[in-house]
Symmetry: C2
Subunit: 257 residues, 2 copies
């Protein structure tokens, strides 16, 4: 063992705070959390890591790569923590809520997710929800569309929620922000905006997290509804006992043709 760790020994003989990709991403997350989305610049990052900004760009090519790496670190740890061994709809809800809570804690993640398609973090979410559709009873031909629907809903909320957080500071300001927005909706011409005018009171008092979960449930309900492909089968939101076990990879990958 002493022999095999030669290279890691050598790296540990450098300055303890050697500049690594990992440390850069970590510092970027700290900076984004504490200073907001505008707070991440190569110069600020360089100051925090006590180096030049050119040094950072030797490890990470550009800002896009840095943001994707930071978002993936947050989403990866959020999705990994979701309880396993529950029913498929429960797992989908769990993943969705984990993403929501991650964005709530790190609003810049929401901006980043909705900014770049199919970045690693987005793929994780797609896989997380898509992997449950087989066990949920959605037929092979409809799974891609169904997963895409859930993903786009999650990303849509991610963007909106992040934008809201960007606008207001946090928590307490939210009440005032919603009250102000609800007042503006209430003042809208009922002839031109009857719906917005009508739901203004609900806007003021609603809980984003609950509304998000309601959206997930609505889409889950649609997947098993009569009229949707694969819907109408004797499989309500909760699958029949005995089918809740997550199928192994080989079963999932059985070609459908």
């Amino acid at each position: 063992m002493a022999k095999t760790t030669r290279s890691s020994e050598r790296s540990s003989q450098r300055r303890v705070d050697a500049l690594t990709r990992e440390r850069i991403v970590e510092a970027a997350i700290d900076l984004l959390d504490s200073q907001g989305e505008g707070g991440l610049t190569f110069r600020a990052l360089a100051a925090r890591l006590e180096t030049g900004h050119g040094a950072i760009q030797w490890h990470i090519a550009n800002k896009n790569e840095l943001l994707q790496a930071a978002a993936d670190a947050v989403i990866s740890s959020a999705v990994t923590g979701v309880a396993d061994g529950v029913t498929p709809p429960e797992r989908i809800r769990g993943i969705a809520l984990a993403v929501f809570d991650a964005i709530d804690a790190h609003p810049w993640v929401g901006t980043e997710l909705s900014r770049e398609p199919w970045q690693p973090a987005v793929l994780r979410i797609f896989e997380g929800v898509g992997g449950q559709l087989h066990a949920l009873g959605v037929p092979q031909g409809a799974r891609f569309d169904a997963a895409s629907t859930l993903l786009n809903f999650i990303l849509g909320l991610a963007g909106q929620y992040a934008a809201g957080a960007r606008l207001i500071g946090h928590a307490t300001d939210r009440q005032a922000f919603l009250a102000d927005l609800a007042a503006r909706w209430s003042d809208l011409d009922p002839a031109r905006y009857p719906f917005a005018h009508q739901v203004a009171p609900q806007l003021r008092d609603h809980d984003d997290r609950e509304q998000f979960l309601a959206g997930v449930d609505l889409i889950l309900a649609g997947m098993t509804a009569p009229g949707y492909p694969g819907g109408g089968v004797p499989c309500p939101i909760r699958p029949a006992e005995g089918t809740t076990k997550t199928p192994d990879a080989s079963a999932v990958n059985t070609p459908s043709a």
Copy 2:
């Protein structure tokens, strides 16, 4: 009439190409369409309008306001063109597709919609879909959540689709882009990413517009599914005859308490 048009006569006596908010927004849209999202700068706009960039910022305070105005102009004209007098689900589909097509023609609109919550353009979409929910049979208490779900789905796709368009040039490149992405999904470790690995072929051949419509239909199906509030009532996607007329504003605004 000659007397009442005095002020408009006076303004028409100015240079024909007087700098107005309208002309600025129009030029901004042209610039965004032709040069892409990065093409809109106050300097480029000033050059095109043959003035200084300070002059523009006298009419429009900042870039955010300019982008919102441009997006609203596009969405407004798109939503206005949707056929009236059809069934509620048909109208929701029509509005959703109008938004999709507008983003397809002006990808920067997708970026802008997903960037800022409750800007005028977003409110138009929200009203457009939300206004159909009553006639669709969604009970009062569930309408806000339902409209929000549809809206977030649309905005999620808006952001992703715009990001895709930002990445690739247009049309023909799309085939290559999807083929490349599908190949990468296919190469993913089936043990870690079974779902993405499995749907890779579908990703390569899918049509974004059809998938978008499938998502709208899935959510519509959920609204009338058993298990969802108001679902299970004898009201399939198409409401019973005689209830399809859009209720007038006073009926819609009846307080529910």
